[in-house]
Amino acid sequence: MDFYYSLAQIIGFHTLLGLSAYIVLQTGQVSLAQAGFFAIGAYVAGMLTVLAGWHLVPAMLVAGLGAALMACLVGFPALRVRGLMLVIATLAFGEAVRLFFFNFDYQIAKGEVKIGPLGGEGFRQIRWFPENGWTSLEVMLFVWTVVALVAGALWWNDRSRFGAVLRAVGEDEVAAQSVGINLTAVKVTAMTIGGFIAGLGGAIYAHYTTHIEHLNFNVLLATFAIAYPILGGLRSVFGTIVAAIFVQGFLVEGLRFLGDWRNLLFGALIVLAMNLRPHGLIDAATARRLARLFSREQWRGEQRRA
């Protein structure tokens, strides 16, 4: 059972990473900087629990806020550019963050050993969960509480006025601008929220692996961040969750029994999925069907109550 709890944790922080890109993608921006924000979250939270001895929850919040601040700062200049230019600009920023941590030493002596991030050799012993006696089940519940809160907030946002504004910018910038929407403000807000979510995800990641190093936060991770919402379809937060389960649960762990074929199938199945469902696993039609399902149940429930 332990294994499934652990797998659920992996899916959890990958979902957060995906959701952080989801909100940015809603404004039509493809950002490869998410892995950078994820890294900031991981390092900040790790340093707070290990070096400063904080409780994980405040450490995570500070990590999220730190990443959000960075996202906000980078959002202003970056969002001047669009399309592929933005992809590369954000990629450059994400890589710069990773390389910053590659050169980042901050160690303090604790007893006879030194702890803290040490450049290329990484940051070891981020063991807040086991040191405080958390079982895998408890960690999993904690992770998914965070995911549920974030996903719930985004789901609600999709139905709010601000959500409509985000999608309007994503669909047609010119039209959105002409009805008086401040493009920069909307995009930077989305980026900041995305940064916050990625920071939370990174904080969980650091405490899951107990050791982080710059190479964990490479372009591949950034690509996965945008892959989840794209694979899932941009219509609903559930798409991102489904995609994270599909990739981490099915492609990575579920196919393990295939041995060597698993690695080959990984890429091949992504290609196949995009050919079969170019608008994502949960595209507009599926989303509508799902919505109808939910509303019908709601309707039935109301009838019963009446």
Partner: protein, 292 residues
């Protein structure tokens, strides 16, 4: 480190930058025609170079045979990428082809890993003699050769695009796909052909990268993809001369920062410079088109 060393560093970088230029041109060519980005392009070029090794390693052909074989194989791979990642995906969904080509990149890399167990493979140099010395400076002779190959490949490409009917069709599709179709051009055929041409060019790039590094390894697929993309956007999307200049610039900047600072900090400055460049000049060096 004196002045001479910095100049030498820039020279080294410029020469090595030609391989970045070649990859950048491939990206830019596909982008120019289809307005889409093919993330698996660099991996496809590398895979082509690996296929070339079959000649001398398994069939007992002379070492030089890797070059034509690499180029041909890469052309075929280019077409396969078109079939699997573009042909059946609606034109209006750029994110879908972005993802499908990322999937392809991972697949190609893993196929390489499986066929070689991930071990680096020796790749012949195009010229194996002494470096050229000019005063205090030294030029790697084989890289000068690579530079010349790069120039020839680009000249052939430009001639193809601007001097043949085929090129005219390609350009017509790039500019006005609907009008081109109305004139009786087959969109799919032209698009497929663009991938073959880009693939052949990628084969040249893959072979030249192999020749200048002296080895092939699945390790380099990631970095050359990133470098290629960077070169493409700095040069201006769809601009072939832009990609050439940008490749050389990236190579030089990389080496200069390494000489000025340190190898571990080198890429931070390259990335920050790129970020600033894009923000200040969103169209790239030679912004041929206004739209993205």
């Amino acid at each position: 480190m004196g002045f001479v060393d910095y100049v030498q560093a820039i020279i080294d970088g410029l020469l090595f930058g030609t391989t970045y230029s070649l990859i950048g041109i491939g990206f830019t060519l596909v982008f120019g025609v289809m307005q889409k980005i093919n993330m698996s392009y660099a991996a496809g070029s590398l895979a082509g170079a690996y296929c070339g090794l079959v000649g001398p390693q398994l069939m007992g052909l002379p070492p030089w045979s890797v070059f034509p074989l690499s180029i041909a194989a890469s052309g075929v791979i280019g077409y396969l990428i078109y079939l699997t990642c573009f042909r059946f995906i609606p034109l209006a969904s750029p994110l879908a082809t972005l993802m499908s080509t990322v999937g392809m990149l991972l697949l190609l890399d893993e196929i390489i890993v499986h066929s070689t167990a991930g071990m680096p493979q020796n790749y012949p140099a195009i010229y194996d003699g002494d470096p050229i010395e000019i005063g205090d400076f030294m030029l790697r002779a084989d890289l000068v050769g690579v530079f010349l190959v790069c120039v020839v490949a680009m000249a052939v490409l430009l001639a193809l695009l601007y001097r043949t009917r085929l090129g005219m069709a390609t350009r017509a599709v790039a500019q006005q796909p609907v009008a081109a179709q109305l004139c009786g051009m087959r969109l799919q055929a032209v698009n497929g052909l663009t991938f073959v041409i880009a693939g052949l060019l990628g084969g040249v790039a893959g072979a030249m990268i192999g020749a200048s590094v002296g080895m092939l390894s699945p390790l380099i697929a990631g970095p050359i993809t990133v470098k290629g993309l960077i070169v493409t956007v700095i040069g201006g999307l769809g601009s072939i001369p832009g990609a050439i200049v940008a490749g050389l610039m990236v190579g030089a900047a990389e080496n200069l920062f390494q000489a000025l600072r340190n190898v571990t900090e080198r890429d931070i400055y390259v990335m920050l410079l790129l970020f600033v460049f894009l923000v200040v000049r969103p169209g790239g060096l030679f912004s041929g088109r206004g739209h993205d």
